[in-house]
């Protein structure tokens, strides 16, 4: 066990070094140290790192965490799994069979198609924006997708782990300028992406949020689930700040069509507006 951990840390160090080298070569204006030591602004307590703002993951990892070749209208994506190094989720054999089954049925079986909340960590890399709400002692994330939100609780009290939730129970602490969140109590009905990757109720996520620049928030999720995976694994995504003036997350609600199938209908879509049928009012 401990040798595995050492090996994993070694791999991570190599990856980090590679990232740092890339940044140093490509971003001339930045100093070489920035990828690991960016210092975010502070809240008005002068202490708490300020992660407030609207953030959005770029890329299409939401299609398949393990990477995919792309399809019409969707760019290809490399695996965002940084550990193990092969970029594959270390499934137990029987679980892998179920994942493949999910994959074949993904056109109808993905819970996201029913406008359910996306869960953790999936809500983070959906490609729809999220807003970090923060004040000294408070941290919450409002996700645009299906108006899900999470209130982060400090870790001085134990988890509320008596239910299977869709957005889990989150306890967090600051480690320097990195927010580390421990998430449990997630239902096994969630998927991790559109490709059928899944977990059981033994799912446990440790998230790390860290600003690597004024407009970049690095998100890392270390995932373990002894029922489904043979070892813990880690994914990493980068969220970019949405900087458009007046930008906000908008309401995301679904409506049923005549066949009972739910569709996201934007508030900017005229179909969302139900103009009153006043003729009906005249005949009681």
């Amino acid at each position: 066990m401990s040798s595995t951990r050492v090996a994993r840390h070694a791999v991570r160090s190599i990856v980090l070094a590679a990232v740092a080298a890339t940044v140093a070569f490509t971003a001339v204006a930045q100093t070489a140290k920035d990828a690991t030591s960016f210092s975010p602004g502070r809240l008005w307590d002068g202490k708490t790192p300020d992660f407030r703002g609207i953030w959005q993951a770029r890329g299409s990892a939401y299609v398949n965490l393990e990477g995919h070749p792309g399809e019409k209208g969707i760019a290809a994506s490399a695996s965002i799994i940084v550990d193990p190094p092969d970029g594959k989720i270390p499934y137990r054999p029987e679980a892998l069979a179920r994942r493949d089954e999910n994959y074949r049925a993904r056109g109808t079986a993905d819970p996201a198609l029913k406008c359910y909340q996306a869960g953790v960590p999936r809500a983070t890399y959906l490609g729809t924006p999220l807003q970090i709400l923060q004040s000294p002692g408070n941290f919450a994330i409002a996700y645009q997708d299906n108006h899900a939100f999470r209130v982060f609780h400090t870790d001085d009290r134990p988890h509320f782990d008596a239910a299977d939730w869709w957005m889990g129970d989150t306890r967090y602490r600051w480690e320097g300028d990195t927010l580390i969140a421990d998430v449990v109590a997630l239902t096994d009905q969630l998927w991790l992406d559109q490709a059928g990757n899944f977990h059981s109720t033994e799912f446990h996520v440790v998230e790390r949020y860290r600003m690597t620049g004024p407009d970049a928030l690095e998100y890392e999720a270390r995932i373990e689930d002894p029922v489904v995976y043979s070892r813990p694994w880690t994914l990493r995504a980068v969220l970019q700040r949405v900087k458009q003036r007046g930008a906000r997350i908008i309401e995301d609600e679904c409506l049923d069509d005549e066949n009972g199938v739910r569709h996201h209908v934007s508030p900017y879509d005229p179909r969302n507006l139900l103009k009153t049928d006043y003729s009906r009012w005249k005949k009681p």
């Binding site: 008005w44 407030r52 819970p111 029913k114 406008c115 359910y116 909340q117 807003q131 709400l133 923060q134 004040s135 408070n138 919450a140 409002a142 299906n146 108006h147 899900a148 939100f149 209130v151 609780h153 509320f160 239910a163 939730w165 869709w166 957005m167 239902t187 009905q189 007046g246 906000r248 997350i249 908008i250 309401e251 609600e253 679904c254 409506l255 049923d256 069509d257 005549e258 009972g260 508030p267 900017y268 005229p270 969302n272 507006l273 139900l274 103009k275 009153t276 006043y278 009906r280 009012w281 005249k282 005949k283 009681p284």
Partner: protein
């Protein structure tokens, strides 16, 4: 003590403890929205560095009132208006236009069409006007916004404090909220509704012309007075006033999750489709 109909709300708030103990029916018609009166007690309110009252925390609607659940059968008994044990907030007084009255009667008999029963967002002010004591709201605040995170329906309203303009061609279940501070009161103008929400389970409703003015006043460190005035010229003859208090939830408790759609099991009992294109006749 007995409160008269010509009660001055600022006096009532000064006697908050007596009010909360539920001392008698209060007539909302006589209670004009009063600006948060500067008083000595305001100095003791928690504040953010920008000087505005700190509304943050976990809050729960207090008092009686049952979101119109009983009003269909008990209308006129003043039950929810404080006649019940422990008192409660005043019942909103609806005066419908003639056409809307018929529509309301129809909806009262077809309560299963209530979109909240299908896990849709409740709208405003229903998001806050949930059954007392059941679903709390978490407030997170900074100099730019007051965010309301409602447990019920995991409904989120991130309200800017800059009194900015409502967007065009935007219509939403929760409308569009723009806030401003008027002294120590947070005033929110809510517009751009999509005409789909009901106000309660008893068929009281609004249409796409709804407009709400909300007032959040921290009256002591553990109490928010919530007032909402709903206008809708096609539905109501005169504005409808809502008024109740939110009490701070002890720090030992936390907001829970309200997954609705994810566990929805009752649509098969619905005989008409609401919000869809198809509308079948009830048999």
């Amino acid at each position: 003590m007995k409160l008269t109909r010509t009660v001055d709300w600022r006096v009532v708030l000064g006697l908050g403890a007596a009010f909360l103990a539920g001392t008698g029916p209060l007539n909302p018609a006589s209670a004009q929205p009063a600006p948060a009166a500067p008083s000595a007690s305001n100095a003791a309110l928690p504040r953010l560095p920008d000087g505005h009252p700190d509304l943050q925390g976990l809050w729960l609607k207090s008092g009686g009132g049952f979101q119109g659940l009983f009003i269909g059968s008990l209308e006129g008994t003043n039950f929810a208006a404080g006649g019940g044990r422990g008192g409660g907030p005043p019942t909103p007084q609806y005066e419908y236009t003639p056409g809307a009255a018929a529509e309301r009667a129809y909806r009262q008999q077809h309560g299963y069409e209530d979109p909240e029963g299908r896990c849709h967002l409740p709208g405003v002010p229903r998001a806050l006007d949930q059954p007392a004591g059941l679903y709390p709201v978490q407030i997170v605040q900074d100099e730019n916004y007051v965010a309301l995170l409602h447990e019920a329906m995991h409904d989120v309203r991130i309200i800017p404090t800059d009194n900015s303009k409502h967007p065009r061609n935007y219509s939403a279940w929760s409308g569009d909220s723009r806030g401003r501070w008027e002294g120590d009161t947070f005033v929110v103008d809510v517009s751009n509704f999509n005409g789909r929400t009901w106000l309660d389970m008893a068929g009281n409703f609004v249409d796409e012309n709804e407009h709400v003015l909300e007032r959040f006043s921290l009256t002591d460190p553990n109490t928010i007075l919530y007032e909402a005035t709903v206008t809708d010229p096609t539905v109501f003859v005169k504005p409808v006033a809502f008024r109740f208090t939110l009490k701070r939830v002890p720090a030992a408790q936390q907001i829970l999750e309200y997954s609705c759609l994810e566990g929805e099991r009752s649509r098969q009992h619905f005989t008409e489709e609401d919000g869809g294109t198809k509308r079948r006749v009830v048999r």
